[in-house]
Every structure is written in C-alpha cells, then in structure tokens.
Amino acid sequence: MVALALRDAAVHPGLGADLDVRDVDHGFVLHGEYLPVLSEVSFSARAGEFVALLGPSGCGKSTLLRLVAGLDRPRQGRLLVDGAEVTGPDPSRVVVFQDPTLYPWRTVWRNASLGLETRGLLKQQRHRVDQALALVGLESFAKAFPHQLSGGMAQRASLARALVNDPRLLILDEPLGKLDSLTRLQMQGELTRLWQARGFTVLMVTHDVEEALLLANRVIVFSDRPARIRADLAVDLPYPRHRDHPELLRLRREALGLLGLARDW
C-alpha cells in the first residue's frame, strides 16, 4: 500500500467528511457456507478527497460501500466517519446506486425532495430541491415521471436526490455504469465540476480504469474476492484531465497490470 501525500490544491477542506476504514472483514453465509467478501480492508480518505475503488466485477466493492453507508454492519473491523463509528444510514452519507432507483409513483421533483421529506425539512427548504435540480440540469423536468426520462436523465435525477441533502460523503456505486458512452463522458465532467464546487468527500466504485483515473485523487485497486487492497495509487494531476496525458497512460498500465490485464493491453 502506497500512502502518498497529496497536493493540497486538489483537496477541499471544510464540508467533506474524513473516512477511516480499519481492518474490515465481511462476508455472507450462502447455502450454509461462509463466503468471505472483504478481507482486512483498511484505508482512509481525507475530507474533500475523491477516492475511486477499482476492482474486478463482483469482488466486493459494492459491499464495502453498503458498509460505509451504514446499510449493513461489518462482521469485523470498524468504519469511522469524522472519528465517529458508523452505526446506521445517515443523510450526510448519501449513496447513488448503479440503477437510479427513482420511485416511479413520484415526479422528478418529489423524488429529489425525498431526503428533506424524511427529515421533515421540506416545508422550509423547498428551494433547495429546485437548486439541486438546476444543478443537474433537470429543472424543466421537475414534473415528469421517471418512466418519461432517459437513462442519463434518471441518473442525474438520482444525483439531485443525493445532493439535496448537502452530503459530506457522497458514495457512488458505479453511478455511470449503465449509461451510453457519450452520456457517460458528459456525466464524468459534471461529477468533477460538482465535486470541485461542493467540496464533499467522494467514494466511488467503478470497474472502468480510465474513469477512475480521470476523476479521482486516489485509486484504490482491489483483488478478486475476497477483496484485499492491492495498491493505493495517487493521481496527482490537475483537473480537467486529458485521457492521453502520459502520466495517466502510465497509471493506466499500472492499474491494469495490478488487475492482471497488462498483457491484453
């Protein structure tokens, strides 16, 4: 594991949360047998950092995100956000899932307002829903129902639903995984812009090496299941980044090598 100091210019202190994952082991019992999914996972993310978790499909990255979100509790180890143990879900740590999972019976606006509604803040803070929708460019679709949206628009709506809560830690579970490549490029740009403007900490699972290197300050590479940390790569490049930057190409080769794919590329 390589722990590298980052240039402070790329990191936003203040709003973001510190994340500390310590010796986490987790697994499931399947057909009476214990199936280990995460093994001795330890890393930390500083406030305002953009950390990408990269690994083969089905290696347990998404399980790790569920633990950080507080949706599940780890079998062993501890997860700390700003020094406090994660015991359950909290609106300051919002997840954007691979599927937009918008509620089909609610309009885009009422989907985005969900987090305020659960906390009884909707009446005073209606303007924040409008702001979040404007931020993702969906203000004119506020009254549309989810089945009327394209895939990219639906994913933007689910991003707005997360942003309304002013998250300190944004947890992204392959948020762009199911989008077409053009929409994907556009959304990658938008994500970087939002992160730079808002300054929250981001933890993003992806299995797209290029995406991880384009967006993140650090890329943590996982092994196959049970997932262990193979490497912690610092991406010390200014934004916006270019796909053909020599440093990026070098890191890409390194990451693919760690994933056991170097020969094919």
Binding site: F97, T101, T118
Partner: protein
C-alpha cells in the same frame, strides 16, 4: 426531451386508435339513418294493433318517436356543433337496437309468437319501470348501501392485514396459516352460520360481503408489499427514513397496483355474495326483488331488475377504475375500462 416527446406522442397515438374518436361525416349520416329507423319503430308500435293484451303501447311508441327525433336532430345538428357530432359513434349501435326492438316487438306484442310469461314484450318491460319504480328504486338503494358497507369494511381490514403480512414476519407466522385455511373458502359457505350468529340478516350480510372482499385484497396487498424491491428501501434508509416512512411512503405506494387488482377481485366476489345473501335472508335489495318477482312469475320484473343490477355493478366497477386511473396516473400503459 426525446423521452417525453415519445411518451406524449404514444399516448396521443393510442387515443386516436380508440373507438371513440370517429369524426368521419359518414357516422353523421348513419345517425340520420338510425333516427329514421327509430321513428319508423315508433310508427310501427303505434300503428299495428297488439295481439297480446299489453299496456303502455302508446308510451313505448312515443318513447321510440322521441328517441328517433332526437337522433335525427343530432345527425343534422352535428354538422354545426362538434359535441353533437361525437354522438355519431353510437349510430351503428342505435341502428342495431332499433332492428332488435322491432323484431322483439313483432315476436311478442304484435304476433304473440313467444310463450308468456317467459318472454314479455317491450311494453311489459316499460311497465315494470313505470309502475314498480318505487319498489325497484328502494331495492337498488338497499343493495348499494349493503354492498358499500361490506366492501368498505372488508377493504379496510384486508388492506391492513395485507400490509402487516407483507411487512412483519411475526404477523405472518400467526396470520398466514389461518388465512390459508379460511381464505379460499367461499364466503357464501358461511351463510347459514352467519345468519344464525349475527343479530340481524343485514349485519350478517355485511360481514359476509366484507369477508368476500377482504380475502383477495389481503393476498394481493401482501404480495405487493412483499415484492417491493429492496433497493427502494435502501434509498429511503440512506436518506434518513424511519419505519413509518418506509411503510407509508415506500411500501404502500409501490404495492398500490397490486392493491387495485385485489380491489377489483374483491368487488367482483362481493357482488356474488350480495345477491346470494339478499336471495336467502335479507328482506330487501335487488336479490330479494328477483326472488319476489319469481314468486309471482313476474318475468318482466325479473328482467327489469337484472338490468338495474347490471347497471349498478358496471357503475361501481367504472368508479373503481376512475379512482385507479387517478391514483396510478404514473403507471405506463394502464388499461382503459
């Protein structure tokens, strides 16, 4: 943007495909034909002497003439007023009905070909409504009131049990076996027992109708709630939702399409129980009227009551569809009744 455009264009497309939007002038011509046929029917009823001993021939003739005149006016006025032109789509039906009434009238009142009292004439039908409307209306009110009481109670209970079953394992443990045993039993099987246990036949029938409504609704609500994607709950939980929010704002709305299927099934079986209960115990209502008319061999009254009952059931189903269309407007490709 495109998705919205597509969505609206498809709804417009299916709308145009529906039978209703027939704006061809041809149908206005048909309406004039129908009007003339109905005028002819009126003249035929009034002009040809009855072979059977029937009353209300004059009224029937006048009704046919009035309907014919109205259709003729609508057929002509439709060229100038769009709402009248909309009536054009009924023209084929009106033509067929005029011919049917003519044949019926000929076979019964005019030539006395069909045996009485099984095949009453149209006049006799009219007579049921002119002479017995008080009793018939009273029966209708009693039926509707009994049905609504039972249905609302059954729907409330069935929905609540269904949500509880879908949500809580402990409730499932206790309620599921009971429901499996008793649920499939037709509610009418309880009839003798219910009339014995309950103080009045009205309360017994209310209970039976509630039972018939509750079972399908419980099963459908249960499967609806149990089938909600766990991702929906994950989303709400990460946004800070409590149990109450998860049930009321996630599980129930997500299960609502299933709930409506259950309500339709429940309403259907409540009709069956209503008629049986009224025939066997309750001393009012359309089921009782049918039974009473049969006692007098008053077949015209039975047909008249059947028509009223059909209209009642159809109206209630339509109202339920309207409610569903309002509440489930977000669903794609919803079936029109």
């Amino acid at each position: 943007m495109t998705a919205i455009a597509e969505a609206t264009s498809t709804t417009a497309g299916t709308g145009a495909l529906r039978l209703g939007d027939d704006r061809q002038p041809r149908s206005l011509g048909l309406l004039v034909v129908a009007g003339l046929l109905w005028l002819g029917l009126g003249a035929f009823v009034l002009g040809w002497a009855d072979a059977q001993e029937v009353e209300r021939t004059t009224l029937l003739g006048i009704l046919a003439l009035a309907l014919g005149g109205a259709q003729l006016l609508a057929g002509i006025g439709g060229r100038f007023a769009a709402p009248l032109a909309q009536l054009g789509r009924f023209a084929p039906w009106l033509i067929v009905l005029a011919l049917f009434f003519a044949a019926w009238e000929t076979a019964t009142a005019k030539l006395d070909l069909l045996p009485l009292p099984f095949f009453p004439s149209p006049q006799a039908f009219v007579e049921v409504y002119t002479d017995d409307w008080r009793r018939l209306g009273d029966s209708l009110l009693h039926s509707v009131w009994l049905l609504l009481r039972g249905f609302v109670i059954g729907a409330a209970v069935g929905f609540t049990i269904g949500v509880a079953l879908g949500w809580s394992k402990r409730v499932g443990y206790w309620v599921h076996p009971v429901m499996r045993l008793i649920g499939p039993l037709p509610a009418t099987a309880w009839l003798p027992l219910a009339f014995f246990i309950f103080p009045t036949s009205g309360s017994a029938s209310t209970f039976l109708i509630a039972l018939a409504t509750a079972f399908p609704l419980t099963v459908l609500t249960w499967s609806g709630v149990a089938g909600v994607q766990s991702a929906y709950y994950d989303v709400a939980r990460t946004l800070g939702a409590d149990q109450r929010f998860l049930i009321l704002k996630v599980a129930i709305p997500a299960a609502l399409p299933h709930v409506f299927v259950g309500l339709f099934m429940g309403l259907g079986s409540s009709f069956a129980v209503l008629v049986v209960a009224e025939m066997l115990g309750v001393k009012s209502g359309l089921g009782w009227y049918l039974q009473w008319a049969q006692g007098w061999a008053a077949y015209a009254n039975m047909y008249g009551a059947l028509l009223v009952m059909a209209l009642m059931c159809s109206t209630l189903i339509t109202l339920l569809f309207r409610l569903r269309d309002r509440l489930l407007a977000w669903q794609k490709g919803i079936v029109k009744w």
